[in-house]
Amino acid sequence: MSMFEDIPVEVGVIYEGERIRRKDMQIELGGPDVKEKFELARVKKPEEIEDGKTTIIGPDIKDMEAEKSYPFGLLIEVAGAKLEPELEGVIERRIHAYCNFIEGFMHLNQRYDIWLRLSKKSFQKGLNSFEYIGKVLQRLFKSELPIIEKMQVTFITNPEKVKPLYNEALEIYETRDAKARGLKDEEVDKFYGCVLCQSFAPTHVCVITPQRYSNCGAISWFDGRAAASVDPKGPVFTIEKGEMVDPVKGEFSGVNEAVKKKSLGEITKVWLYTAFGYPHTSCGCFEGVAFFIPEVDGFGILHRGYKDTAVNGLPFSTLADSTAGGRQIDGFHGVSIEYMRSQKFLQADNGWKRVVWMPKEVKERVKSFIPTELVDKIATEEQAKTIDELKAFLKERGHPVVSSWKEEAVAVEETAPLESEEAPLIPVATASTLPITAGGFKIILKDAKIYAKKVIIRSEKSEKTRKGEGSAKK
């Protein structure tokens, strides 16, 4: 109440999911009918900012004709000792949530794609000026991100003024993206860790690097950086990268230490860029899973939304179950979609050259990040539904994994000679519970007394060498 007492409508997270339909809208800002729209956050020098100021360039809400769409720009300028330009994207993305907290004010999408609506109801309640929205944003940003020391907000509704700024914004996004995508793990000395998932999976630790998003796809290195500086005691923390032990597998001494500490010794070593050996652990909410298909010596990828079974006949639920819960499981690897866009993606396992199958939907999403020469060599459900079909496809297209296929050596198993001896009938086994393992089955006999003239039991491990034959004599 006190925080937004002077705002004519309520402000709270409960309005986040609110949708405003066309017939209920007072005005629309941006959206599909308008070309020029943007939102932008910029980190400035303290002297460039007049703290608390809201500027409106163009008509204010009350001066805008009802039920119409308008070009729109929203500029947030901040300053603070600990603020750095890398955090602009993180700050900018909060605009979405904070706008949505305002009752009757809807915000969709981001950046140059924004789409806002104000409801008639809230307009009638008195939300008739951008001043109010400016105030809400100021207060929320500053209370949530104390690293913002000064902040000013500018709303631009004059079409003539929006246009040049829009073009400028596009350039800024582009530069920022290029920088972000170009940022390499080698170039930073800090990674970030996240233990949010420990509330449900207590041994899982996510390691977030510039080239490895969190498993859930929700936290980038930049987000991690922002979160760790805003709340140093929180679930997202800084990992000093330390010494690079193995640049290919992605082993770092600092990562090992941090993970060991945060998993309380459950996990002692992590290789970031491989699904084998010491792969990154998986929580419960990863976006997709990379799974090794031994028959073709390659990886399949399956995302959470895929309804059918993967090419190896297993559905997402089963594959995911093989790796979830903060464990390191060879060949099963929880991943985010964004990580597939990284150059470090399964680097130690040959990266995309080892990927042989993925659903069409994911392939489309990451297509531009797959090396061009491989795009047509990776099968989707349209080309292969079984391992046999996949093999044929890979062979036909000349996928790199094919070269690793060799003639499969058929192991010749020697059979132990049958023994035949006469002996008096004695009980060879009498136990309340007696497990027998054979041929992949476990048979448990309860309260059984077995009488046999002779029982020969060979140790399983010695099957090929015959060394341990007939070892269970009583």
Partner: protein
Amino acid sequence: MARKGVHVKIDELKSDFGLLKNFELSVGRVIEEKWTEPMGPTPFPSVIALRDWDMKLLQRYRPFYLPYCDVCCLCTFGKCDLTQDKRGACGLNMASQQSRIVLLACCIGAATHIAHGRHLVEHLIEKYGRNSPLDIGGLNIDIEAPVTRLVCGIKPEKLRDLEDVLDYCEEQVTRLLSSTHTGQEGSNLDFESKVFHAGMVDQVGMEVADIAQISVLGFPKADPEAPLADLGFGIADVSKPTILVIGHNVPSSVGIVDYLTEKGLAGKVEVVGICCTAHDITRYNSMAKIVGPISWQLRYIRSGLADLIVVDEQCIRADTLIEAQKVKTPVIASSEKNCLGLENRTETPPEKTIADLVENRVPGVLILDSDKVGEVAVETVIKVAPKRGKFKIIPEIEKIIEAAKECTECNECRRACPNDKPIPEAMKAAAKGDLNPLAEILESCVGCARCDSACPNDFPLHSFIVKAGEEKLWKEKFKMRVGRGAIQDVEIRNVGQPIVLGEIPGVIAIVGCSNYPQGGEEVAEIAEEFAKRRFIVVTSGCAAMSMAMVKDEEGKTLYEKYTGAFDAGGIVNVGSCVSNAHIAGAAIKIANIFAKRKLRANYEEIADYIHNRVGAVGLAWGAYSQKAAAIASGFWRLGVPVVVGPHGSKYRRMLLGRQDKPEDWYVLDARTGDKVYVGPAPEHLFTAAETKEEAIVLLAKLCMRPNDTSKGRAIKLTHYVDLHRRLFGSLPSDIHLFVRNNTDIPITMRDEVVKVLEEKGWQEQMIPDPTLLPRLVREKKG
């Protein structure tokens, strides 16, 4: 999975694993194990196997007894007065007696679901074979029977596997029931532990019943987009012969629908249902329609709309036959549990039975064969309908006014009314020709007709009320998403991240019967409040129907407005009473899927996980039956809090946490073994709310858990504070107990919350990896 009586004889066998000569083996049963997970600590737990866990919960959530009856009259020593500190002739005191009655009720409830499951499994095995596979969700469900796996430690794969599970359940109920005998259990806490056991066994029984019918009868298999069914008093085309089915156990209704389909009569006869049989028959076939929840029985029968009534089991009015006779409607009873004094015609040739019913030589018959029920019901209704001409006993308005003039306002009817409705005043207005007050009563009438029995003038008051409200009743035409069954494993994964991040603040399960204090609309309001706030709302049974019975200004019901997916803002109808097991199943799967906690016979650990981490709360706003009591107790043992409506105090005791006792709110930090104060989260295990508003605020508050991430806690607190402020006009007085550190404070309420924290001398607390089980403390390695 299990086979009985195996005998193997081998003269000589040379195989990979050994050589056998003259080998003979006789085994009582052979268990093929395909489930590789090692057996957990408590397979098929005995009555006391989980007693330690129960006591942990009961120490924190102490039973608070609300004696509904001061005496005990269960044995011939009695009646014994148990008030104050008195003990009965057997030595039992009030607390133990109350908990003993709760146990009795829960045993009745559990026995009912288990017997229901037993009948279904036997019936389906007879019809479809022992080896019919269990499939409740195809590829998207790996864990087909989470409750059974958790409790029993087995992975059922075929119908026959369920028989073993039921053997266990039946045995447990017998044991539990035996401890209610005079001179057995003497401790109220042990009675309470047994109540939990009854609830757990009940949950297994429900799961067995539902997965059997889903698998074999082709119900929607965990389908978020299960079809919409028609629901409402006015939904049937009453120009057609109409069969009304009432109860919970669907085979006889399936018999009817199958017969209609087979004979090409599908469009010629209406099949409508009340209560859970209606749920399950719409899950089976789209030709069936739903009249409404249990309280719609009398109003529908007396309105004469049904030309034939088929009853199966549970929650059916005991006077169905008498009421049906008044409107000349024949009745077919189809369950051994509810024979209604009718002649058993199971072996009689159908033609004879049909003729007897049509000629009204018998008021009804008992037929214990679902196919035969189908044939007799359909053939009879076609012949009976024209003869009946929808004969009704709902009086005309003039009759009501006439009677109302003779009303002496003795107030007996109001005294008899469970909702204390002002019937005398309404009669007074009716005497003057104004029927609106009577019509208003129908809105919150639970259809018990105790007013009828109470009236010294023998006025059929319930019929008067129905007539007065008739206009609105006839307009009742709604859509309800039919029961989808289980929650997919994949859906559980999808909500993983938003649950961790708090974007989904909790799971609200709105279940139970329809004896609401103020009518069913409240259930719809509560459901929408939470769906709008992007909680996951799950529902079942009569509550699922009630929340369909409200439309917005565009004429849409909740089911048309909100998704049926187990996701933020979803309204998820799992199905009938027995489908409640899927709600427990979803909570269990969260533990198994997110944290990879072992599922197999590992009840205590999973319950500990759910209790400390999964923000799920149940609401039984109209709970009335013993089954509802059993269902609630199953959730308690899993550590899930349950809120009931005002009538819920008649369950005789609550399980209340004490905010004022900080020592009750410690958990172990599984990382270090340290004892950590976590505040009263969740505050109660079982409590009643007097009003809808109180219920809403409580539900929001009870979603908090010790493991909440700060963002999650901040969002949960936002909802709690916002609802409290909106519905009670003030900040809750206990916010400080739920804020652990600064980042827990809701973003948009920082200033005011900080003020409260300062006033209360709040201190920062750590967020542990919470558990109540010392054995789960992980020692710091290396």
